[in-house]
Symmetry: C2
Subunit: 374 residues, 2 copies
C-alpha cells in the first residue's frame, strides 16, 4: 500500500515554515530563556479577573463552547459600538486571516502585502495559492502609496496592512488609513490588522463608523489584553462581509475558557488602561537602553520596539544570538533594510533588567564576531 | 465603495450551516436545559487533575503556546506507542478534518462518506469543493462494502469512516476495519475517525502497528477525556502523511491551557478508566429507559445511545421536541432510515434521572401531536 498523493497545491508548498517558537529554541539551547521578549506577548499578563474567569470555566470544559460565540460577540459589539452580526470571533487573528484569504482568493489571484510584513498572512496566501505582490517598506513604515498603487495595478483581491505595524512598530494616522481604504480599487478587500491597536496613540485607529464594505478590521486579545496563549480574536466589518465567515469557519473553535476569559477581559478596562500605561513606560525604557548602547530605537505604537543596530543584518543577527546565549529571547526582521534591527517586546521591569544587563555583552560578542569575520 | 466579491467557491456555499449549539436553542426557548444530553459530551467531566492543570496554566496564558506542541506530542506518542513525528496535534478533530480535506482534495475531486455521517466532515468537503459520493448505512452501521466499492468506482481521494460511528453508536471489529483499509484503491486516503475509540469494546480499534500509509487516525480529548470545550485532538499516521499538516495548519492554535490539560489527561488513565466504566453503566441505563418506554436502544460503543422510536422521522422529531420542552437536550439523526431514532448522550445519574422522568411525557406529547396530524 502506497501513500495516496496530496492535492497539487499542498504538494507544492514548502515543508519549512516560518514559526519557530521560543520553546523550540530553548530545547535546542538546552535551557529556558531568562527573559522572554521576542514574541510580542504581554509580560504584564492578563487581568487577574481574566485568570479567575478562565480557572472558573475549567471544570465546565466538558461542554463544547457556544459555536455562535453569542455572549462574547455581544460583549465585543457593545465594546466596539457595533451590532453583534458585525463581529466574527475566531480562534485568534491567525485563524481569521486564513479564513479571509480563503474567502477572497483563488489560486493565482493577486494579493498585495509588504516585504517583511506579518509572515502568517503570507503563509496563508501561499497556502491558498495566491500570487504575492510585495511592496517594500519606506522609511520603516508600510508604504501606503506603494500598496495602493500595486493594488490598483494588479486589481488585487486582498491587500494587507497592519496598523500599527509589526515588525517595525510604526503607524499611520487614522485619516491616512481611511484615505488608503478609499483609494483601493473596487475588487480589493483591505485586511486591516489592528492587533496592536489598543496600544497606539489616540488618532491611530480610524473611527468604527461608518463601517466600510471593503475593510475587515482584525483585533485580538493576544496583545494588550495579555491572552496570547488563549486564542481569541475578532473581525469587525459590514454584516455582508462578516456572515460568509460562517460558511467556512471552525464553528466550535473558541474554547469555553477562552470565551469566558475574553468576556472578563472586556469588562476590566481598568486593567487594560494599566497595561497601556506600563507598555508606554516600557517602550521608553527600551528606547533609553538602546541609546545607552549606541543603538537607535524606532518610536513604536505597539508592545515592542525595533532597535536599529546601525549596521547590517548579519550584525543585528549576531546581537540577537548574543542575547540568546545570555538567556534573552528577542526576534528580528528578516527583510532587507529592516534587518538591521532587533525587535524587543515590552515586559515588566525584571525582564527588562535582564535585557539591559545582557545587551552590552551581546554587543561585545557581536563586535568580536564581526571583527573576526572581517 | 461596494463590497469586494468573494472567490467563486465560497460565494457558492450556503449560508445555512449544520451547527446549532444547545446555547442557541436555550436562547430561543428562553431558559437553560436541565439535562444536556445531546452533544455527546462527557457529563462525567474532565479529571480533577486536568481541571487543576488548566487552572494553573491560566496565569501563564500571556505566552503563546508552543507551536510545535512538543511536550503534548511526546506524551501522546508515548501513550500510543508511536514516534512524536507520527502525531499531529490540532485544535480539535473538527480542525484536523478540515486540514485533511484541504491536503487531499481539489474542487471536483470525489470524496466518499455515509449518508447521515458526521456533518462537519461533509461541511469541510463542501467548503473545499469536493464532490460528495454518499453511501447509505446498512442495518444501522456504516456500510464498509458499499464505501469500499464507491471508493474504487470513483477513485476517491478520501473516504471517511467513523469507528465507532456517530450518530448510531455502532461499530466494526478491528479486523473488518483493517480489511476495509486494505481494500481501498491506491489513490484513496482513509480518514478513520476514532473520536469515541476509548469507549469501545476491546477489539474495535485496530492495533497501531503497522502504521498504514493510507490511513489517518483521528483521536480527541473531547469525548472520553471530557474536554470538549478545550479543543485538543490529534492524528496518528505515517510521518510522511503527518508532516504535510505543518504546511497549512494554524501553528499556534492549541491554547496553553489546552496543552497542559491534555498532558494531564493522558497522565490520569485511572480517571479515563472510571469514565469508561461509568459510560458503560450509563449506556445500560439508557437501554433500560428506552425499553421501559416501548422503544428499542441500538447497542452502542460510544458515549451516546441511538434509541429507535419505532415510527417515522416526524415522530422521533416530536419526541425530541417534547424532551426539549421539558428541559432535556438530545439530538437525532436526519438521514432517511436513521431518522426514526433520537440520540441520547450518556451522563451522570442526575441528568439521566431527568431524562427518565421526562421521556414518558415527551412520548405522550408526540403521540398526541401525531394523532392530531392523522
Amino acid at each position: 500500500m502506497t501513500k495516496p498523493p496530496l492535492a497539487r497545491l499542498p504538494a507544492s508548498l514548502p515543508d519549512t515554515i516560518p514559526f519557530v517558537g521560543p520553546e523550540a529554541i530553548e530545547r535546542r539551547l538546552g535551557r529556558p530563556f531568562r527573559a522572554r521578549l521576542g514574541a510580542n506577548e504581554s509580560g504584564f499578563g492578563p487581568s487577574p479577573k481574566v485568570i479567575a474567569a478562565m480557572a472558573d470555566a475549567a471544570a465546565g470544559s466538558w461542554r463544547y463552547g457556544d459555536p455562535e460565540n453569542h455572549d462574547l460577540r455581544v460583549a465585543i459589539a457593545a465594546h466596539c459600538g457595533v451590532a453583534p452580526d458585525e463581529i466574527m470571533a475566531g480562534e485568534g487573528v491567525d485563524a481569521l486571516l486564513g479564513l479571509a484569504v480563503r474567502l477572497y482568493i483563488e489560486p493565482g489571484d493577486p494579493v498585495v502585502t509588504s516585504i517583511g510584513g506579518y509572515p502568517t498572512f503570507d503563509f496563508h496566501v501561499a497556502g491558498f495559492g495566491g500570487r504575492q505582490v510585495k511592496v517594500p517598506y519606506a522609511a520603516d513604515r508600510e508604504n501606503l502609496q506603494g500598496l495602493a498603487e500595486a493594488a490598483r495595478r494588479e486589481k488585487a483581491r486582498l491587500v494587507y496592512l497592519a496598523n500599527p505595524d509589526n515588525p517595525m512598530g510604526t503607524w499611520w494616522s487614522a485619516a491616512e488609513v481611511e484615505a488608503f481604504a478609499d483609494a483601493l480599487p473596487e475588487e480589493t478587500m483591505l485586511v486591516l490588522d489592528e492587533a496592536y491597536g489598543e496600544l497606539a496613540p489616540a488618532g491611530t485607529l480610524p473611527p468604527i463608523h461608518p463601517l466600510r464594505p471593503n475593510v475587515l478590521r482584525m483585533r485580538t486579545f493576544s496583545k494588550a489584553y495579555g491572552m496570547a496563549g488563549v486564542r481569541v480574536g475578532y473581525v469587525i466589518g459590514e454584516r455582508g462581509a462578516i456572515a460568509p465567515f460562517n460558511r467556512i469557519r471552525n464553528h466550535f473553535a473558541i474554547s469555553r475558557m477562552g470565551q469566558a476569559g475574553a468576556i472578563a477581559a472586556l469588562a476590566d478596562q481598568e486593567w487594560l488602561e494599566s497595561v497601556v500605561a506600563r507598555t508606554v513606560a516600557a517602550r521608553e525604557r527600551i528606547y533609553a537602553i538602546a541609546a545607552a548602547n549606541g543603538f537607535e530605537a524606532i518610536p513604536s505604537a505597539t508592545n515592542f520596539v525595533a532597535i536599529d543596530c546601525r549596521r547590517d543584518g548579519a550584525y543585528a543577527l549576531a546581537v540577537l544570538e548574543g542575547l540568546a546565549d545570555r538567556g534573552v529571547f528577542v526576534r528580528k526582521p528578516a527583510a532587507p533594510g529592516l534587518d538591521r534591527c532587533i525587535r524587543v517586546s515590552v515586559g515588566p521591569d525584571d525582564a527588562l533588567d535582564i535585557f539591559e544587563a545582557e545587551l552590552p555583552g551581546a554587543i561585545a560578542a557581536a563586535d568580536a564576531l564581526t571583527a573576526k569575520r572581517a
